[in-house]
């Protein structure tokens, strides 16, 4: 099959329309995973053992089943429409990974910070909000950013439940015209153009993280 430039230019705008659905699904799913991920992390740390075990079990269950199966299941079990189903399922699926990222961030905050908070009589909620999370989150921002890219690249899965994202459009163009090379290449090209700057930005954040506030280069330590 040879590349047809005229055809490629003709279908480009049509595929580009799907980019908004792709981005919309990514942003919605990412927002769900960031929020739900934190909730899962906090519930998992509950001192009430049955609750933390239950949450750990749910996380494990979601993580060991394929997202495509989850998509079909939710799509047919609940009548929410393709886009909403897609955003929720991907969001919930990735919240289990994001939760693991939060967990490593929280574990990196030394026990002494909790003790200092107690000595100043902060409540549990204040300790989380003012002391622990502000130290736990910044170091894991690059890792969280990585999941944004992974999630973005995972959105073509949504064509399984007929969300009109880029890949779905490309495939229908192929089905109409019997030309698959151009639409699929264009989709790949758009993914590349959008993910690469994100990846560069995350690399920049990675370089920056690990620096304490107030230290221009390396912290001065006694």
């Amino acid at each position: 099959m040879t590349w047809d430039w005229a055809f490629a230019f003709e279908i480009f705008p049509r595929i580009l329309e799907g980019v908004w659905i792709t981005i919309g699904a990514t942003v919605a799913a990412y927002a769900i995973s960031l929020t739900l991920g934190l909730v899962l992390t906090l519930l998992r740390r509950s001192s009430f053992k049955p609750l933390s075990l239950l949450v750990a079990g749910i996380i494990e269950f979601i993580r060991v089943t394929p997202p495509l199966v989850q998509l079909f299941f939710v799509y047919f079990a609940f009548d929410m429409g393709p886009f909403l189903t897609g955003a929720i399922v991907l969001g919930v699926h990735y919240s289990t990974y994001v939760s693991e990222v939060y967990r490593s961030g929280i574990n990196s905050v030394p026990k002494s910070q909790w003790e200092a908070s107690k000595a100043l009589n902060f409540s549990k909620a204040q300790t989380w909000k003012k002391v622990v999370l502000p130290q736990a989150i910044p170091p894991v921002i690059p890792m969280l950013g990585n999941y944004l890219i992974v999630l973005f690249k995972e959105t073509p899965l949504l064509m399984g439940i007929y969300v009109m994202e880029m890949m779905m459009i490309a495939r229908s163009i192929g089905a109409e015209s019997y030309r698959f090379l151009e639409p699929i290449t264009i989709v790949g090209f758009i993914f590349l153009v959008l993910s690469y700057p994100c990846a560069l930005f995350i690399r920049y954040l990675e370089r920056k993280s690990g620096q304490l506030p107030g230290s221009a280069e390396k912290g001065v330590k006694a």
Partner: protein
């Protein structure tokens, strides 16, 4: 064991340990502690590591729960609540109420690295005591001035030396105006040349008188200068106690003699 309470009997008891025992599994670190600390009193705790002295103050700060016995702060049970004449374990609300009377300075300073010096000192007064931002800032600046760091308010902990960080930690706990202030080997992590500045600050605060202090220290000269009473802990028991003169200058037991001796030789 008899209750250790012979100094300053005329002043109100602010901390009372009753038959307190602490064990981690089978390992008993503190045995049957009975101790009264009086308002305004400065008590130094000395002894080899593992003798139980840190556990004594950590239980008071609610960082460690006693295995048995009770601790009273200012007439109120710390780890227990009296419900219909019976003692029940205290809930977080009760712990928080009584804990507010205690403050602590840690060996590793434990400043909040993501907050400026002034925010380290104002965050708790604003959100725990409910002071306005202006009041809290005013009070924090006074305390930072007292520890000689009023020019560092906008810096971050990582920009200060260990001695300066520890002075900030002292100011931070003073802003909360605790009735009892605990010092857990606060100079042990410092370079030798920075120890003096921190001890001077503590001596100044002690000289003001009103705050009750319990200090764990390996600095015998400092203990002698600052303390009204010295407790020598050994194997989870108060092995010897009395005025600094009695305990540090005229130790009676062989254990204490050898402890002090070891000490002097290592710090010669």
């Amino acid at each position: 064991m008899t209750e250790v309470d012979h100094a300053q009997n005329d002043r109100k008891v602010i901390v009372r340990y009753r038959d307190v025992k602490k064990a981690f599994g089978d390992n008993v670190v503190l045995n049957d502690l009975n101790l009264n600390v009086h308002e305004g009193e400065k008590v130094a705790l000395i002894g080899p590591s593992g003798s139980g002295k840190t556990t004594i103050i950590r239980m008071l700060m609610t960082l460690e729960e006693p295995t048995e016995g009770t601790i009273e702060v200012d007439g109120e049970m710390l780890w227990h609540k009296e419900v219909n004449g019976k003692l029940e374990p205290a809930d977080e609300k009760h712990l928080r109420k009584v804990r507010g009377k205690i403050g602590m300075v840690f060996q590793q300073y434990n400043l909040f690295p993501h907050m400026s010096i002034i925010r380290n000192c104002t965050e708790a007064p604003i959100h725990v005591l409910g002071l306005s931002k202006e009041e809290a800032t005013e009070r924090a600046k006074q305390m930072l001035e007292k520890v000689g760091l009023s020019d560092k308010v906008d810096m971050y902990p990582s920009q200060l030396s260990g001695g300066q960080q520890q002075r900030v930690a002292i100011a931070r706990s003073l802003v909360m105006q605790p009735k009892v202030l605990l010092f857990d080997e606060v100079t042990a992590a410092l370079d030798p040349e920075l120890v003096g500045e921190v001890l001077e600050v503590i001596k100044d605060i002690a000289a003001e008188g009103e705050t009750t202090m319990m200090l764990i220290t390996h600095e015998m000269d400092f203990a002698r200068d600052v303390a009204d009473r010295v407790l020598f802990l050994d194997n989870g028991l108060i092995a010897e106690h009395g005025t600094p003169h009695d305990v540090i200058e005229n130790p009676t037991s062989d254990r204490l003699k050898s402890f002090l001796g070891r000490f002097n030789s290592s710090h010669a």
